[in-house]
Symmetry: C2
Subunit: 268 residues, 2 copies
């Protein structure tokens, strides 16, 4: 059985991409002693900055991606990934290729590479905020049993939560993550905007935000629900809709979310 030492021995890692995920994953690998040899990005500045932090080379030209790495980790926007796959794989018949996209099936590699898989750390990464990789769930998949073992070992070196998931499961996971993270964060943004319009600092909301997240560690979200919509308090709901009269987009969201909460609670 191969282990992640296979990657350490066999030519190190090339990181293709220098966005939020690539930066955080690259730094985590570097901290764990993996050799990230080269960083590719279309943006010179991004490639160089990340490469320097990883003591790696960098390039902005796909032709100059080095040929003899053991593992190519491709962390790009989906459309760019699809476009670059033929170039990245050409002339590298023995290398292992993975992408990091929750929404892309593993078989985007099929027909281009012999050994391939997926390495999907599910987290919201920002360059401005360093991430502790230890608690991040990592979902791996590979087209061969040895490479699956290898990716799993690599993931286990970085995180205590490693799962083998199919492309089908991961696709669903990614969709659910948009609700749990991106849409939730957008509700925080709406909150901030509402408060700012009345000179109230966003910080007053942090204890409520924290408790809302902490609560669902112990209670299911349905059990944890409180507030006017689940009580079906039409008096309060009506007042809130009035307050949003000059913000039709927020008003529509308020109405839709309240109706949805009420429907779910009735089905309990």
């Amino acid at each position: 059985m191969m282990t992640s030492d296979g990657i350490r021995d066999k030519g190190g890692i090339v990181l293709i991409g220098a966005g939020n995920l690539a930066v955080n994953l690259g730094l985590a690998l570097h901290r764990k002693g993996y050799s990230v040899r080269q960083v590719y990005s279309r943006t010179e500045e991004a490639a160089r900055t990340l490469a320097e932090r990883l003591s790696a080379d960098h390039t902005t030209s796909p032709e100059q991606i080095c040929d003899d790495a053991g593992l190519y980790i491709v962390a790009l926007k989906d459309s760019v990934l699809t476009e670059l796959i033929p170039q990245i794989t050409a002339g590298r018949p023995d290398a292992l290729f993975v992408h990091t996209a929750g929404s892309m099936p593993m078989d985007v590699w099929a027909g281009h590479a012999r050994r391939y898989g997926v390495f999907y750390p599910m987290q919201t990464f920002s360059k401005a905020r360093p991430t502790d990789f230890g608690g991040i769930p990592v979902f791996v998949e590979a087209n061969g049993a040895d490479d699956l073992s290898l990716l799993r070992s690599l993931a286990q070196d970085l995180s205590g939560r490693v799962y083998v998931f199919s492309s089908e499961q991961r696709r669903l996971l990614h969709l659910a993550g948009v609700f749990a993270c991106n849409f939730t964060n957008h509700l925080y943004a709406i909150t901030e905007e509402l408060l700012a319009a009345h000179g109230i600092p966003f910080e007053v909301m942090l204890p409520l935000i924290d408790e809302t997240a902490a609560k669902v560690h112990g209670l299911s979200p349905r059990e944890a629900q409180t507030g006017p919509a689940v009580r079906y308090d039409l008096n309060v709901i009506g007042k809130h809709l009035d307050l949003l009269a000059d913000r039709p987009e927020m008003q529509q969201l308020y109405r839709l979310l309240s109706e949805s909460i009420h429907r779910i609670s009735e089905n309990n």
Copy 2:
């Protein structure tokens, strides 16, 4: 200047209501050595259970609410509050009355009582989950300076975050809290439902939920945003909408929230 000792000395506290907020507030007062003398609730079981935990009397009849308490804390649904105010205030000209409702103006008391105010702890309370009151923001308001000092001292005995807010500000705060808490929790509920339909446990999402909340302690929500909507990745968005084809309500929410994220990010 009066302090919260005024409440300890002057006949103690009557708690009107035995719901999620009343239970958590009652227990916090009890732990801090305040005498909660009596609990009123329309529901015998709820009144008795809470009264026992507070070593208090209980009643289900508004006529039997004791006359000589120093402070009456009314933690009821808005519609019930309005209905009960005349009964609660009648024959108690010297008592101080507060309600705990974010959405109700202070002046619901006007014409019924001489001394009144608001004591609004902004948190999502569930009976099943005991709350540490220490970090909860408490917003107070009163119609007299002495009573404002008294309520502020009481709040400071329970929490390190006490604010004097007007009814107008609190109304906005309550609306913003619905977005930050109730609607956020509903997104968690949708997440759970999507995952459950594919046999994936909700727990895998907790690190993402926690980090999404933790991030906005340091970054503003707009800066913290990630994912397909802010990247305007129409490829991923289209796939997600397809995945939700048999769930029109979630699909509508997905579309609306994504459009809203995109619009906000363009205005940056």
